[in-house]
């Protein structure tokens, strides 16, 4: 549910980074956090285990500045990827305006990507959200790894991008693709909001 304050002309949107464990969701947020000036971001909140695995979620508020006269803010969340955190993923996904699915490009992680994508669809459906209608982009992360370890973007698209949504190759650890992914989901979310279909 995008929140629009007509009195103060503010828009707040919730974006959830979803995907299997260790695919790089938190790394995306860390990179964004490292790039954005202090006055345009809030504190990054990470509810993580002692080994830095996401336990509940990561959260990063971003001020995108003024768009069409609206002060526009994005709330970026990640979900814990491990299969046994199903309940937590549902809670974090609640009210999402857009989803970034972060796939792990490693060939041995293909099945985890597929299962996580199915899990996303199921959790959206359970919240009465049409998985085909919610703004979604896919990021193929870790494309910097040696080519014999990873699948190409085309191979990954064949496996998970059957909707033909915007997709991006990325190396979230060093930055390539992170900005493009955020831009991609931002455009879809704002377009949908502008079309009056966000609620």
């Amino acid at each position: 549910m995008s929140l629009v304050n007509y009195q103060t002309r503010e828009i707040t949107c919730k974006i959830v980074y979803y995907g299997p464990g260790r695919s790089g969701k938190t790394t995306n947020l860390h990179y964004i956090y490292s790039q954005v000036p202090e006055d345009r971001k809030g504190t990054m909140v990470s509810l993580a285990t002692q080994t830095d695995r996401t336990l509940f979620f990561d959260f990063l508020p971003l001020d995108l500045g003024t768009i069409s006269g609206f002060t526009t803010r994005f709330q970026l969340y990640t979900v814990p990827g491990q299969v046994y955190y199903q309940t937590t993923r549902k809670l974090v996904l609640q009210g999402a305006d857009g989803v970034v699915f972060v796939a792990d490009s490693q060939a041995r992680q293909l099945q985890e990507n597929i299962e996580s994508f199915q899990d996303l669809h199921q959790n959206l459906s359970e919240q009465s959200v049409d998985p085909r209608a919610i703004p979604l982009v896919i990021q193929y992360n870790k494309q910097d790894l040696p080519s014999d370890l990873i699948l190409t973007a085309e191979e990954l698209a064949d496996a998970v991008n059957f909707r033909g949504v915007p997709d991006f190759s990325a190396d979230a650890l060093h930055g390539p693709g992170v900005f493009e992914t955020l831009r991609g989901i931002s455009e879809l979310v704002l377009k949908r909001l502008s079309a009056g279909a966000a609620r």
Partner: protein, 156 residues
């Protein structure tokens, strides 16, 4: 006093609660973590972080209650000098989460009494759900979005 609310019907019940209970901070949010109204915060980013955490605490304690007691826990309290109280408030528009912070200027008993009153006033004030007015972004919003994102990432 700094107070913002997304919809005007929230103002009066919230103002009354803040005045009566003498709290330092008050935050009303949607269960998804979106802020509906706030009193006392000075930075919008702090509000968003507080909302995300409050929604998480509320959701996880409710799930824990369902797991252990068959029904969600409600009315969480913590702290000594600076205390928080977190509880849900139901309206015709659905549930909202209410978080308040208070110090020696108030007490848990006082907050609970006035929160019960707030809950009633808030439910009464809530209008029936209506379709929100359409947000009209200008045709060149993508250009503005790209420019703003480029500034954020130091690419402008």
């Amino acid at each position: 006093m700094i107070k913002t609310s997304v919809e005007p019907w929230i103002d009066e019940p919230l103002r009354r609660f803040v005045d009566d209970a003498g709290v330092v901070l008050a935050l009303l949010l949607h269960p998804s973590g979106q802020v509906m109204a706030q009193h006392g915060f000075t930075k919008a980013m702090d509000v968003m972080s507080a909302c995300a955490l409050a929604a998480a605490i509320h959701a996880s304690s409710a799930e824990l209650g369902r797991l252990l007691d068959g029904k969600p826990f409600s009315g969480l309290h913590a702290g000594k000098n600076r205390q928080i109280y977190l509880a849900a408030a139901e309206t015709a528009r659905g549930p909202y989460i209410f978080l308040t912070v208070f110090d020696q200027g108030s007490s848990l008993g006082l907050v609970r009494i006035y929160f019960d009153e707030f809950r009633v006033n808030f439910a009464k004030a809530a209008p029936a759900p209506v379709a929100p007015p359409e947000v009209v972004l200008s045709s060149n919003f993508e250009r503005e979005l790209n420019r703003n994102l480029a500034v954020l990432f130091g690419r402008a």
